[in-house]
């Protein structure tokens, strides 16, 4: 198999693009897809200071690497969630990546700062682990981006992530969520601007980028995510993709081009009027925000004795 661009031996075949790439042209392809997403969705301006939410996994390290390569001023943010060895290992990968490249990495440790970890928080709040984790991360990412005066918060959500979320939203006709499912969310009501530069890259492509670029990421899946719905949706979509290359991209990117705007009014109408959390000052639709309520429940000594 030869590289479609230079005819040298190829490392990978990307059937949805009807292309094969050598190392040099795989890396160029991935960077071009990110550059194209940034332009197509008007994500970032060249002088923007961005905060990249970094987990130590392939997606967040790849997007950080590519943004730095494209010349952006990108600082990393790692949130330690207290998920045993998994968190220790993921923190090592994030720190090593930053140190080796001379990049700034901000670290927030949830057990140390807030007194709970995700397994405890999940039990106390009677939320699924991924729900407690998502709530915690979103709050801390938003807070760090706003407090640090960053122009945008960058996350490593890729095409497969977004297609899986879209499938879940369509299956249950979550029309408000469909109206908000866009790779750029503008800053509003105290929330930072949020962008997803990897939406044109599938996760096989992102993993291939990391391996080829020498990025040492945590390969193991989070032990708390095993068996969740999101992974089930990805399995279904990959079964479709195997028989019909390009199906995931057509589904998600086609939705953005042809259907997302139809749900915009519902998303807007569904937005609750936001006040300010009486504990932390974050934007909130109730007196105390969901994150502060989670902290309270997870660290309540009475509750932990029950």
């Amino acid at each position: 198999m030869k590289c479609t661009v230079c005819r040298e031996p190829a490392l990978i075949d990307l059937r949805r693009h009807n292309s094969n790439f050598c190392a040099e042209h795989l890396l160029r392809f991935c960077r071009d897809q990110v550059r194209r997403a940034i332009e197509e969705f008007d994500m970032l301006r060249p002088a923007d200071r961005v905060l990249v939410a970094v987990s130590g996994g392939k997606d967040s390290l790849a997007v950080w690497d590519i943004l730095v390569g494209l010349g952006y001023d990108a600082t990393g943010l790692y949130v330690g969630l207290g998920i045993g060895d998994y968190s220790d290992t993921s923190a090592d990968h994030a720190r090593r990546f930053a140190t080796e490249r001379g990049l700034e990495l901000i670290t927030v440790d949830v057990p140390e700062t807030y007194g709970y970890d995700i397994p405890e928080g999940s039990r106390a709040a009677r939320r699924a682990p991924c729900s407690a984790c998502g709530l915690t991360k979103r709050h801390l990412f938003d807070q760090a981006a706003v407090d640090g005066g960053f122009d945008a918060l960058v996350t490593g959500h890729n095409l497969d992530d977004e297609a899986a979320v879209l499938l879940g939203n369509v299956l249950h006709w979550q029309t408000e969520y469909l109206g908000r499912q866009h790779p750029v969310l503008e800053a509003r009501d105290g929330f930072p601007r949020k962008v997803k530069p990897l939406v044109r890259l599938g996760e096989r492509e992102v993993a291939a980028y990391c391996i080829t670029a020498g990025i040492d990421y945590i390969v193991d899946e989070c032990p708390m995510a095993v068996g969740n719905k999101h992974l089930g949706y990805k399995e279904v979509l990959n079964a479709l993709e195997a028989g019909s290359p390009g199906a995931k991209a057509d589904f998600y990117l086609g939705f953005l081009r042809k259907a997302a705007a139809a749900f915009g009014a519902e998303a807007e109408a569904g937005r609750a009027a936001l006040g300010t959390c009486n504990r932390c000052g974050a934007p909130s639709s109730s007196d105390t925000c969901a994150f502060c309520r989670l902290v309270e429940r997870a660290t309540d000594p009475e509750r932990s004795r029950r």
């Binding site: 682990p129 991360k137 899986a164 996760e203 993993a207 995510a225 990959n238 079964a239």
Partner: protein, 49 residues
């Protein structure tokens, strides 16, 4: 045996894995030798969004 044939035999979806030999990616049509040591690396991840 080719990479594609190995993955078929193991009933693995090619969308969900990459094959790595000596730290380098191996494409679907590459032939594997009997003494090759290869890593089948899962690429699917996902928890909280």
């Amino acid at each position: 045996m080719s990479v594609a044939k190995l993955l078929n035999r193991l009933e693995l979806n090619r969308e969900a894995v990459l094959l790595v030999r000596n730290g380098t990616l191996v494409p679907g049509d590459a032939q594997l030798e009997d003494d090759d040591v290869v890593e089948i690396r899962p690429v699917v991840s996902g928890g909280a969004t």
